[in-house]
Subunit: 296 residues, 2 copies
DNA sequence: TCATGTTACGTACTACGTAAAGATT
DNA sequence: AATCTTTACGTAGTACGTAACATGA
């Protein structure tokens, strides 16, 4: 038995249903069910009873829920009392990200304890990101295109799957490398039509035709929705995007050629070497993992 | 932060030293050190300070230790209040084991919460063990020589390493299969000198000479100590044995031949199918793993 | 050099996920 | 059929182990 189990159980007691509680707790229903079962086994006492498809608390369950409530309160109070509340922690947290980790992916913020903190978010480009962290303009960065820097370290957080996406009806006759691509508009280092992509496309291995260069991810997606272009995006971004738009505007992955079907890229948190890896960074990492992995 | 971490930290506060606290808590010092570091990171506050090779609590540390104490008390009280205290749980726990899991290996009892319980331990032979569990003469059995039974299930707990052991000076000229073996005295199914061993020796593969048959493990060990015999024992038993006896009487593993050098055998908890796998069984399993694995 | 604490790294357990199968209205 | 829960099983994160290293008496 630990505090977590008590938290879960009181959530069930409050919600009056496992599925609702699981929803509130942001975990899956089976997980919650299992934890509850374990708790009952450990205590050796039934806590909930099933009546039809309702659940009701037994006498023991009611007593546990009641008493847990105050215990959890005490626990949180103690934590709050000791926890560092000085400037360095109550400050305004400043994060620099790729636009990719903004907009659709903002859910990672929900995994962070914002109590006493405020947020500033800067959407920037790869090079700028490292610079901003090094210059202390921001506290941390999130990127999948790391640029090495002597004062910084890149903590690998997870890896994401990249893919070529377009509207299903677009370019039925073309192969992947001949799609008219939309890419991030910026540091162009190649020819006008063959660029080293800022989106992580392996240009050193496969060349592609670039037709559009845009600043905003949303613009790129819109071009794809209009069947004007294809893009090289993280798969989880397109998944999130597809959940937001009308069925007719959803994008699909285009099967690649030349073994380029599935590309995995690492995602990093960028921090100054002089900063310790604190609780906030851990929460941030957890949040990023949760958003990037196709689980929920 | 969870209750466990608070328990660990108060232990440090009470003991005044990490190593002593680790000893009391039955965990390794590095583990405790790490947990403490994590706790400080999470809270963002130093809790202990190193002064020479002493540690002293900071102001925060003192407050946390004090407050934790009552919180832990409350937690335990709540647990105790809900926990099942009726006959079925306050009863006398009856366990049947091989002698192997008795005597030297009794440490597994320390992993069980004996609060409100008493223990009866029966040292029995393989067949008897299953019978005793099935007849409800005992609650569970521990064995590495399972005998299938329709009403019972064998839960695999861990695996142990078996080996041939003798006094280092004994039988320098003989190879393993020609040692005069001491084996458990009982259900003999082979010839007088070639038996199907009750100790798990793979007689179907390798024959051996049996010179002594004894009832008690301790007697077998004594014969080995006197250089009169060799035995096929679980390695962890011999390790524990060697810690208890004088240097001159310690046994060593004899290198085997014919690929029989390292034999692993599974250890099982035997329970009735009709019984649920409760907290007690989990603790028991944990204890057995702790004793059998050469870790501490 | 011993006592004490930390870092590095391996392993095994556990938490939680998805998928699929009961149960109840 | 739709809703709610449990079972089965896979994976990733964490807890704790040992070994090796650092440091003060």
């Amino acid at each position: 038995m630990d505090i977590q189990q008590l938290r879960y159980f009181t959530a069930i007691a409050k919600a009056g249903s496992m599925s609702r509680a699981a929803e509130i707790l942001n975990i899956s229903q089976p997980a919650l069910s299992k934890v509850t079962k374990l708790l009952q086994e450990e205590l050796g006492v039934p806590l909930i009873r099933h009546v039809g498809r309702q659940i009701i608390l037994t006498e023991h369950g009611q007593r546990l829920a009641e008493r847990s409530l105050t215990l959890i309160q005490d626990f949180e109070n103690l934590k709050g009392e000791i926890e560092n509340r000085d400037v360095s922690c109550c400050k305004d947290i400043k994060i620099a990200t790729f636009e990719v980790f903004s907009t659709y992916a903002l859910d990672f913020l929900n995994h962070i304890d914002w109590d006493q903190k405020t947020l500033t978010l800067h959407e920037v480009l790869p090079g700028e990101l490292e610079e901003a962290v090094a210059n202390k303009k921001v506290d941390v960065g999130i990127t999948y295109m790391p640029v090495p820097h002597p004062d910084l370290e890149h903590l690998k957080v997870t890896s994401i799957e990249m893919g070529v996406f377009s509207h299903p009806d677009a370019f039925p006759d073309l192969i992947q490398n001949d799609f008219p691509y939309v890419v991030p508009a910026m540091p162009i280092t190649g020819t006008p039509s063959r660029v080293r992509g800022l989106d992580g496309w392996p240009d050193d291995v496969f060349s592609r035709k670039v037709k559009y260069r845009v600043t905003l991810l949303e613009t790129a997606l819109e071009l794809c929705r209009q069947k004007k272009a294809a893009g090289f995006f993280p798969a989880f971004i397109v998944d999130l995007h597809n959940k937001n738009v009308d069925k007719s505007r959803r994008l699909i992955r285009r099967p690649g050629i030349s073994g380029c079907r599935l590309v995995k890229t690492d995602v990093y948190i960028v921090k100054r070497k002089s900063d310790v890896e604190n609780q906030f960074i851990k929460q941030l990492a957890k949040g990023i993992r949760a958003v990037c992995s196709p689980k929920a």
